[in-house]
Symmetry: none
Subunit: 250 residues, 2 copies
């Protein structure tokens, strides 16, 4: 049995039962204890499950944890600086779309005094927005458990009800040739539609995302202003031929 195959079996079992014992996996896969343990360790590192003594369980499906998930790194500080700058672009009375995701989440604390109307597909954003008394509209759609994002055709359709002054999107990669990309095609479609409906579209992504190319294309570089952290001059020049780049100093 292939490694990836075996690991998929484990994930499928977890989908059904929520928790599983090591011995059960051994019986089903006919692999040794060592192998199963290795699989579990790997899958845990990939955030596909959570190991517990004696087996594994599905990941904590707590939506609250999602918005602050990767506070491990100091790269959260970068995100905050980017978000702060992005928020400074927003003007009194703007109607804006804020994409789901941890980067855009960092913008929310800076919206308080802005008198804006916000539309979002990020479930985790809602609480923070409401707390600040910001009129908030949520798109409809399927709830992606892992990220708390709303996606799918219903989300796209929901968006058509609105027109935005500005939209702020998170991405997994940007590249001069392949444009903005993200792994999930459904999320990419939502981001694209939002950009279409906005007078001006902004993508927020730190410099480590340069050259990264994920599965799904969102749009060309030219179709959205990039807000990023310091890049080497030659890359900056290359990108500047494609689109506007706002560089945030740290």
């Amino acid at each position: 049995m292939l490694t990836s195959e075996r690991q998929q079996v484990i994930l499928n079992l977890l989908e059904e039962k929520d928790t599983i014992k090591i011995q059960e996996i051994i019986d089903i896969t006919n692999a040794s204890e060592s192998t199963v343990r290795r699989d579990l360790t790997e899958l845990e590192n990939e955030h596909k499950l959570k190991r517990v003594h004696g087996g594994a369980t599905v990941l904590g499906r707590k939506l609250h944890e999602l918005s602050v998930l990767d506070k491990t790194s100091k790269n959260i500080q970068e995100k905050k600086e980017l978000a702060k700058f992005a928020a400074s672009i927003i003007q009194e009375g703007d109607c804006i779309f804020i994409d789901a995701g941890t980067t855009t989440f960092q913008m929310l604390p800076y919206l308080k005094e802005k008198k804006v109307v916000v539309v979002t597909n990020g479930l985790t954003h809602v609480e923070a927005l409401i707390e600040q008394g910001i009129p908030t509209y949520l798109t409809g759609g399927y709830v992606k458990g892992k990220t708390g994002a709303l996606v799918g055709p219903q989300t796209i359709q929901s968006l058509q009800n609105y027109r935005f002054d500005k939209c702020f999107l998170g991405v997994n990669g940007f590249d001069g040739k392949f444009g903005y990309t993200t792994p999930d095609p459904e999320e990419a479609a939502v981001k694209y539609k939002a950009s279409e409906l906005s007078q001006k579209a902004y993508v927020i992504a730190d410099h480590t995302k340069y050259g990264e190319v994920s599965f799904s294309n969102i749009c060309a570089m030219s179709q959205a202003t990039l807000i990023t952290t310091s890049l080497p001059d030659e890359i900056l020049h290359e990108l500047n031929q494609e689109t506007t780049v706002e560089v945030v100093a740290l």
Copy 2:
């Protein structure tokens, strides 16, 4: 049985009953007293429950505290019984709409094993649904800060994407003459649309709501089956001429 599994069982039991004795847990889980005590200690440290002499109780739920504030604990117990019955109506594979509100919220713990697809306009419901791995769709719309309900024309439009086997609605009052009513016209419109899109509509309301008439009419009594607590016979006869009434004994 896995530690995490056993602890989840304890939490689930608490969901249903609000309090539980150590001996009950021992009987159900077949674990030793020592182990159960350790579990309770851990769960208390994680703020998942509160230990009391002889067992444990739930501790006020953060997110829903606001909306539950004014209700007595006896009302909650009533709601739970009503909700449990309502959930028992649901069949494997059903596509259901669950209205926002505290009454319908009580249904969620009973959905786990049902293999259903849920559409809701209740933001507070989403977390509970996702935690149980239930495929969840959210309607779009304006976020009503006080209740976490989605309302407005966008919500109505979102709903049109779906057809339901059953829908479960909360109301503020029911009356033989004036039908089901609720204070907010926008919420009433959402409820009405949901009932229209369902093969079968259910309204959940305890007997204290009888004779109450709020500002906005949702629909006539005849258009939804009423799930309620014990009513005087004469009232029951009167209502039975209008619609089906399911009475839940306490």
